[in-house]
Symmetry: C2
Amino acid sequence: MKRLTILAAGLLMCVMSFAQQALWGVPQVISPEIHENNTVTFRLKAPKAVKVQVTGDFLPTQKIKTPYGEFDAPGFADLTEGKDGLWEYTTSNQLKPELYSYSFIVDGLKTIDPNNVYLNRDVASITNIFIIGGERADLYKVNKVPHGTVSRIWYNSPTLGMERRMTVYTPAGYEASGKRYPVFYLLHGMGGDEEAWIALGRTAQILDNLIAKGKAKPMIVVMTNGNASQEAAPGESSAGLVPPNTQLPKTMEGSFEMAFPDVVKFVDNNYRTIKSKSGRAIAGLSMGGFHSMHISKQFPDLFNYVGLFSAAILPNKDAKSPVYENLEGKLKVQFSKKPALYWIAIGKADFLYKANEDYRKLLDEKGYKYTYYETGEGHIWKNWRIYLTEFTPLLFK
Amino acid sequence: MKRLTILAAGLLMCVMSFAQQALWGVPQVISPEIHENNTVTFRLKAPKAVKVQVTGDFLPTQKIKTPYGEFDAPGFADLTEGKDGLWEYTTSNQLKPELYSYSFIVDGLKTIDPNNVYLNRDVASITNIFIIGGERADLYKVNKVPHGTVSRIWYNSPTLGMERRMTVYTPAGYEASGKRYPVFYLLHGMGGDEEAWIALGRTAQILDNLIAKGKAKPMIVVMTNGNASQEAAPGESSAGLVPPNTQLPKTMEGSFEMAFPDVVKFVDNNYRTIKSKSGRAIAGLSMGGFHSMHISKQFPDLFNYVGLFSAAILPNKDAKSPVYENLEGKLKVQFSKKPALYWIAIGKADFLYKANEDYRKLLDEKGYKYTYYETGEGHIWKNWRIYLTEFTPLLFK
C-alpha cells in the first residue's frame, strides 16, 4: 500500500471514521430503556408533535365495543414533552418478565420507535418489541447455550399442486450427529404464516433453552404455512411485495388438512426423522389448533402427541371437505388408538373459551383422555408462548 | 359439534368473521402503488400533520456537506394533502427496474409507511422497500423457480473462542441430491452482519434465479458475520435486544481474517462441499472486500475465485495483526498459484474509487491478472446486487 500517499490514506481513514461514527455513534435517544427495577422509559424526539402516546401490551387493557361484544385492547399512555422536543414516558409499574410489543402514536399516526430496530410483524401490523427477563421470559431470550439451526425450505405439495415454504428448526448438533430425531409439527393461527411461530412465538429460543436445560428432548420443529392458497409468507412468494391483506388466503375449508401428509412425507424424506407415530407431534394455535384437531383425527396413525392451543374449534358450515365429516366417528378411531398425549390449553378470557369447554365436555362424555391447561387472559401470543414452553417438555418421553 | 347451539355457533362465526375482517379487510390506503407505467404513488393518512415528505433512493440525490467533503444523500419530495388528511405524492418519472427503499418524514419525524410491511434494516436504520420489476431487477424477485434453502446456523470458532452465527444458502435439491457442491463465501460491509446479504443483497433470490436460468452453477453460499467480537446479528445474540450502535464491533484488525479457516472447516464438516481450492470462492463488499483480499492472500490455497466489491482497500495503521504484514510478498505467492478469477468492481462515484485505482495499479505493475468491472454511482447496495449478479455466473466453470 506504499502507493497511497500519506495524505490520501489519511483522508480515507477520516472518511471511514466519519462513516463509522454515523453507523455506531452513541445514539441521541435511548428507547426503550429498561431500568434495573423493571420499569421502562420510552422516549421519542419529535419537536413538532402536539401529542405523543405509547400503546402496547405492557399497559392495562381497555374495553372496546364492537357489534359482536366487548373486547380487550391494549391501553394508551401519554408521553410528556421535555427539553428540545424529547417526549418521555416511564411505566408506573415494574413490568413482569415477558416479551412485550408497543407502538408510538404521534398526533394520531401510529409509528414505530425509530430508536428500536427490533420489530415483529403480526399479520399486517409492525410493532416494536422488548423483553423483560426473568422467570419464564428467560426462555424467550437468546442465551449462551447450543443453538439449533433455523431453515426456510420449500417443498412440493402434489395434493395442492404447489411449491410451498416452511420453517424448520433442527436441534443443535443435528448436522453432524448422524442420529434420527422426532418431529413436532407446529401450526400458526389465522392471518399467520410460516414466520409466525419463529418470530412471535420465539420457537427457536424456547427449544434451544428447554433442550439445553434437559427439559425437552432434542427434536425437529416444522412450522408450515396453513393458508392452502399461499406459496409462502407475504413478501416471500411469487405474489411479490403486495400488501398481506390483498392475499385473502384459503383457510379452514379442508384443503390444508387433506394435504398435510405431503408435509410429513417431505420431512421424512429430507431430514433424519423417526418415521413413525411415536416420533411425531402436532399442535397449533387458534386456527392451527383447529387444523391440529382435524389433521390428527383424519390421519389417526400419524401423530402420537396432539396440542390444541386456544383452538378455534368452530363448525364451518360452509366447508364441504370430507375432513369435517363424521367428527365423532373419527375421534372414536383416534382415541381407540390411544394417543400418548392429547393436550388442550386456553385462557380464561379467550372468546373461544366456551367452544373449548363444549369440546372438552364431548371428550369427557366419551371418556377420551386428555390433559387440560388453563391460563388467565385471552387470545394472545403471551399465552401461546406459555403453552409452547409447557407442551414441548411432555413430548417424546 | 352438536353440543354447540345454533345461536352460540352463529355468534362465534360472527366473531371469527369480525376478526377476519380486521385481519384482511380491504386496506383504506394503498402505498406504495406501482402504476403500469412504473410511476409510483406514495400515500399516508395523517390528518393532523403539517408537512409530509418522502425520502428514498428513487429520488435524485442531493449533496450534503460534511467536514470530510460532499456526499450524495437521498433526495426528498413533498406529499400533498388531499381529502380527509390523505397525503399523496406520485413520482414525476417512470422508475427504472430496481429494488428501492424509502421512508416518510412527518413533521420532521422519520417513520415507516404503515401500509407497507416490507422493511429492510441497514445497520440501525429501518426503511420500507419496493421493487420495480424488469431487466436485472427480475433477479431480485421471488419467481416461480426451484428455491434453495436459507439456514441460520451456529458454528464454533476455536480461534475466536466463540459460538457464532452464519447464514447459509443451499441450492434447490441440495437436501436429497447426495451431490457435493462448491462454496461461495460472501462477506458484508461495515455495520452489516450475517443478515445483510440475504436481506439487502437479495442473495437467495439472485442465486435461485441465476441457477434456474442455467447462468450460475448450483452452489452453497455462506454469509458470515465479519465483526469478530459479535456472536450474531443484533437481536440474535446473547447481548439481547440492545441498540445495534451500542455494540461497537471489532473490525478490520485482523482477527476475523485469521479465524476464517474455522468457518471453512465447519462448512466442509457439516455440508456436502467440494473440499478443495477449485470449489471455493470468496467475495465481499466494502469491508468484506477488504476481508476477502486479506483472507485470500493470507491463505493462498483456500480460494480459487476472489471478488472485491467496492473494497475498502485501506491501510489500517493501528492494526498489529500479521494478516496485514508483507502485503506484496503475500500477493506474489497468491498470484503465483494462479487463481481462476480475481475480480474487482467499483462505482465511478465511490469514495473508495481512488484506493481501488491505486490497488489496480499495483497489480498491473506486477503483472497480476485480474478482471475489472466498473459501474456508475457509489457505495450503495444497488451496486453490490449488480456485482453479485455479474460475479456469480463466473464461478466454478
